[in-house]
């Protein structure tokens, strides 16, 4: 994989290619302009490789001319050539190379997926964390919108509130006015009743006084003679009446 990074100086992998790294580092270290705030394009898809290190493009390059087994034949032929001509001499480093190559392949095969999964987990945690912040912000704003709508609805009812308050105040004023009116009424009636009672009293007292005076005079004017005569008349009347009653009773 590392050989591919070094061998393929694709512009899409600028941040990871060694020369690109140097160039990017050089321009960034001078800070000649503020960093661009535009959204970054998504990461390019990792290049396809066959057998871990050979790029797929190489096989596709040779496919039209030499078919599917072309690159393998090339590899075999090349290694046989190097070995047979002793351009590559087998020495102790070869054994060391084989051993470390086997270790490397074993390590990558065994720990590769686990390691990749843990790295992906780190990235996913970062994304989750950021999205959580974003979601919380969105929820916060949605709540704020709801609250604002509620406040607007409350504002609509505010005129009704004012009307009710106005009605209340008018009622209070009316009640107060009527109370005072009633009070005034009551007081005036009280005074008039008093005057009326006073007049009645006066009339009654005059009447009584007159009656008393008349009685007194009449009783004073009755002589003894008149009294005796009237009493004898009364008795004779009573006798007549008694006789009548007795006659009616027996009849």
């Amino acid at each position: 994989m590392l050989s591919r990074v070094i061998a393929v100086s694709a512009s899409g992998l600028k941040s990871s290619a060694p020369l690109g790294a140097g160039l990017v580092q050089a321009s960034r270290s001078l800070h000649t302009s503020s960093p661009s705030l535009a959204p970054v394009p998504p990461l390019p898809e990792a290049g396809k490789v066959r057998h871990g290190i050979l790029p797929e493009e190489f096989f596709q390059l040779l496919y039209p001319k030499t078919g599917a087994t072309g690159p393998y034949m090339l590899g075999t032929g090349l290694s046989v050539y190097l070995l047979s001509k002793e351009l590559y001499v087998i020495n102790h480093e070869t054994v060391a190379a084989v051993t470390i190559g086997a270790m490397f392949i074993y390590g990558v095969k065994k720990f590769g997926p686990g390691f990749a999964a843990s790295i992906d987990k780190i990235n996913d945690e970062k994304i989750t964390w950021i999205e959580e912040v974003k979601d919380q912000a969105i929820a916060c704003y949605a709540d704020a919108i709801e609250e604002e709508k509620k406040e607007q609805w409350r504002v609509e009812g505010r005129s009704m509130l004012f009307d009710a308050k106005r009605n209340n105040v008018a009622m209070l004023l009316e009640t107060n006015y009527r109370e005072r009116l009633h009070y005034v009424n009551h007081e005036v009636k009280r005074r008039l009743d008093y005057q009326l009672a006073l007049q009645n009293l006066k009339v009654r007292m005059e009447k009584e006084h007159m009656v008393n005076w008349v009685e007194k005079n009449v009783v004073g004017s009755i002589t003894a003679q008149q009294e005796k005569e009237s009493i004898a008349k009364c008795i004779s009347d009573l006798n007549v009446l008694a006789k009548n009653v007795k006659a009616k009773a027996t009849a």
Partner: protein, 227 residues
């Protein structure tokens, strides 16, 4: 080409041009530049995660004044571990098998820690020469021993790294020579030696990483003592 046993320890030359500088700077080529993205590709994310965790780990016991050394220690660790691991590949030159390079790392950094300690807190720095709780008769002897120990530190750092790596490489070479020779002579023994070779390779991978870590860890400990 017929390789002698010590050819791997010679400085590589190409048409008379020494390639030592390239060999030492080689790790720089293998680490992608950190980008501004939140989500990176796996190699960058792995590198970032490793460097972050390592820096956290190494700076944990250090107090805040010593955190200025974060970049230096992390860079040193990355450099050493990459140099060591790259050296395990065949036909590569490992700069860290050369004593001058390792002494070049060890002596200035160790000296820096000592001078920082003597400048900022001389009493405490000198106090380290006598461990707590020593009985009175042992005090003079112990101070001399501790001073010698102090001055041996850079040599220990450098030589530890050199010896481990050089010995490992040499063993790999010897065992692979033996395996190659025995392939003709006694094939079953060659199998045995290749098994031992496999185990040794695992050991060497571990040693490469561990020695780099130990180097940086000891430096951070010396720094912790002196800040």
């Amino acid at each position: 080409m017929i390789l002698g046993l010590f050819d791997q320890f010679f400085t590589p030359y190409f048409a008379g041009i020494p390639l030592l500088a390239i060999a030492i700077i080689a790790p720089w080529l293998l680490f992608p530049t950190p980008s501004n993205r939140v989500v990176n590709d796996r190699s960058l994310a792995a590198q970032n995660s490793f460097i972050l965790n390592f820096a956290k780990q190494i700076l944990l016991p250090l107090n805040v004044g010593a955190h200025k050394w974060a970049l230096l220690l992390t860079a040193l660790m990355i450099n050493l571990i990459t140099l060591n691991l790259l050296g395990l590949l065949p036909y590569t030159f490992t700069p860290t098998t050369q004593l001058p390079l390792n002494m070049g790392f060890a002596i200035p950094l160790w000296l820096a820690t000592v001078l920082i300690g003597l400048r900022n807190q001389p009493t405490i720095a000198l106090g380290h020469l006598l461990p707590e709780g020593t009985p009175a008769p042992l005090v003079p002897v112990l101070i001399i021993i501790e001073t010698i120990s102090l001055f041996v530190r850079p040599f220990a750092l450098g030589v530890r790294l050199t010896a481990n790596l050089a010995a490992g490489h040499l063993l790999i070479q010897l065992l692979s020579s033996a395996t190659l020779f025995l392939l003709d002579q006694m094939f079953p023994v060659a199998i045995l030696t290749s098994l031992v070779m496999a185990l040794l390779t695992i050991l060497e991978l571990a040693v490469a990483a561990i020695q780099a870590y130990v180097f940086v860890l000891l430096l951070s400990l010396y720094l912790q003592e002196n800040t």
